[in-house]
Amino acid sequence: MTAFLIRRLGFAVITLFAVLTLVFVLVRIVPGDPAQVILGDQASREAIEALRERLGLNLPLYQQYVVFVWGALGGDWGTSMMTGRPVIQEVLNVLPWTLELTFLSLLIGVVIGVPLGVAAAVRRNRFTDYAARIGSLLGLSFPPFVSALLLLLAFSIGLHWFPVISAKSGSLSAWVESITLPAINLGLITAAYITRVTRSAMLEVLQEDYVRTARAKGVPWSVVVWRHALRNALIPVITIIGLYLGILIGNSVLTEIVFSRPGLGKLIVGALNQRDYTMLQGMMVIYTLVVVLVNLATDIAYGIADPRVKFK
């Protein structure tokens, strides 16, 4: 287990470096001089030179790289070109909003998806199975902003159950009001993924010899399904959930925009519109950090669910 985790940790570090390098390269292949972009066409030559020096753009490329990576690792991601505040502070301000939405959606996805996937596998090729398969395929097909708009149209604009713009905070009821629709939106799409993965994993496991053995010695069917089979089926499910989190974080961007919810999504769109490159750099780094950490957590969960990993 330790060796396994160390290897995964090594991979996480490599990933982080690779993405930092990618960000560095991407920002530097952008046409035009960033200093010019920030200051506009009217800026004097001196002002541009001064800004170039402040941003470190006058240094040789390899020095810029070292400064950038060193800063990024130390938590110094530069200052936002637009607000003038440190990028890391801006990101940390809204990160909890995105994380709470992501994890609540994941929870909804697991609570709906796992039982539905098991039910579909157990009743293979019968009505439940077809309904679950078509339903989950439909869920996968929804662009998250389209489903978000439908929810907004139905429950906020049509039925007035929820406010259209839900950025209030403070009381518990305000929190519930602001997070319900976004979480349901992402949760249902997540449930669609998890249903499909659970179903196919269960189908495979249910054909195993030990399932037949358990049945033969008289273990009740429900115990076989939920304890013996599901525990083994969960292993691929956990892997997929780990991979899926990257998609979920991307989807949360779109959901945040539709429901006007604060979070990384609104921050990134703001940075895009303002051409705030330092902010975009910082966002790439934070997304990578989150994804790398989640993948590490997935590996640990994997080790817990499957003791065999320890011996690999």
């Binding site: 991979f11 490599i14 990933t15 690779a18 993405v19 991407l26 920002v27 292949i29 952008v30 046409p31 398969r133 395929l137 439909l138 996968l140 097909s141 929804f142 662009p143 998250p144 902003f145 389209v146 708009l149 439908l150 907004l152 149209l153 604009i157 259209v164 669609a192 993924y193 499909r196 993965v197 179903r199 196919s200 189908l203 495979e204 997929i240 991979l243 899926y244 990257g246 998609i247 974080i249 991307g250 989807n251 961007v253 779109l254 925009i257 539709v258 990134i268 769109v269 895009l272 519109n273 975009l280 966002m283 790439m284 997304y287 990578t288 994804v291 790398v292 993948n295």
Partner: protein, 289 residues
């Protein structure tokens, strides 16, 4: 799976069999073909000009003249929807084709060579896969500018890893087969063996995967356009139409409903198609996301 030198008829028959295994594939195919035809013959299907503005007809609900209503500039939504299919399909098909070719080539080379190169390539693919593809696409398009080419490249880049993965595994398995040994004995070059003898064997899987990723590419293009990184207005795109309609969602719901439904139908049809075919080709993968 068809054999290496199977005649065209055998391929045709196995394709037909794959479609018939899961009838929903037919539904997906028919719907998708209808959308493609609508896009190709747009001027005949939608007689009104998608760019024609009319201040008098601003934000009108669906009527006899404007079947799906009009937008803020008085443009016909039905016409914009039909013409918008072109952008979705062009970007979707081009980016999928690009990632399919590059991804499969990378995967086949990794599997064929093995060793360090294989480890390195797959590590890079894993890193790319770990990153939220929408965010990556978004940042690439934002940095390079939202032109059609840049959008295609960005979407293609984010969907290379799955193709590399799906091409690699069967290449490794096939490397050990006798017909490959025979090719080597005949002195064929690596290139000739890969393209002429291994590729035809793994092509069905890659194509099926392609239909699923085409669905994904169309969804991503719409998402980018919704964020504001689509092909420049006034060219109609479905995601862009939703973006514009979102500003008037409180009183003109049809602005977002029509393009939203269109995206959903196309993506769902492609998923039905690819999902059914995948079941037929590889029963083991049945229903996996």
């Amino acid at each position: 799976m068809s054999e290496v030198l199977s005649p065209a008829r055998a391929i045709w028959q196995s394709t037909l069999r794959a479609f018939n295994t899961n009838k929903t594939s037919w539904v997906g195919l028919v719907v998708f073909v209808i959308v493609v035809l609508a896009a190709v013959f747009a001027p005949w299907i939608a007689p009104l000009d998608p760019l024609d503005q009319n201040v008098m007809l601003r934000l009108k609900p669906p009527s006899e003249d404007n079947w799906l209503g009009t937008d803020y500039y008085g443009r016909d939504i039905y016409a914009r929807l039909v013409y918008g299919a072109r952008i979705s399909l062009i970007i979707g098909l081009a980016s999928t084709a690009l990632s399919m070719v590059i991804g499969s080539a990378i995967g086949m080379i990794a599997g064929w060579r093995g060793g360090r190169l294989d480890t390195l390539i797959m590590q890079v693919m894993d890193i790319l896969l770990a990153f939220p593809s929408l965010i990556l696409g978004l940042i690439i398009v934002a940095m390079l500018g939202p032109s059609m080419t840049n959008i295609i490249v960005a979407i293609a880049l984010t969907s290379i890893p799955p193709f590399a993965r799906i091409a690699r595994a069967p290449t490794i398995a096939m490397k050990e087969r006798e017909f490959v040994d025979a090719c080597r004995a005949l002195g064929f070059s690596d290139m000739r063996i890969l393209v002429g003898h291994i590729l035809p064997n793994i092509l069905p899987e890659i194509l099926v995967m392609g239909s699923l990723w085409l669905a994904n590419a169309i969804r991503t293009e719409a998402s980018l356009a919704f964020i504001g990184l689509g092909v420049k207005p006034p060219i109609p795109t479905w995601g862009g139409m939703i973006r514009e309609g979102f500003e008037n969602i409180l009183d003109s719901y049809w602005l977002v409903l029509a393009p939203g439904t269109a995206i959903l139908i196309v993506v769902f049809a492609l998923n039905l198609l690819g999902d059914g075919l995948r079941d037929a080709i590889d029963p083991k993968l049945k229903g996996e996301a």
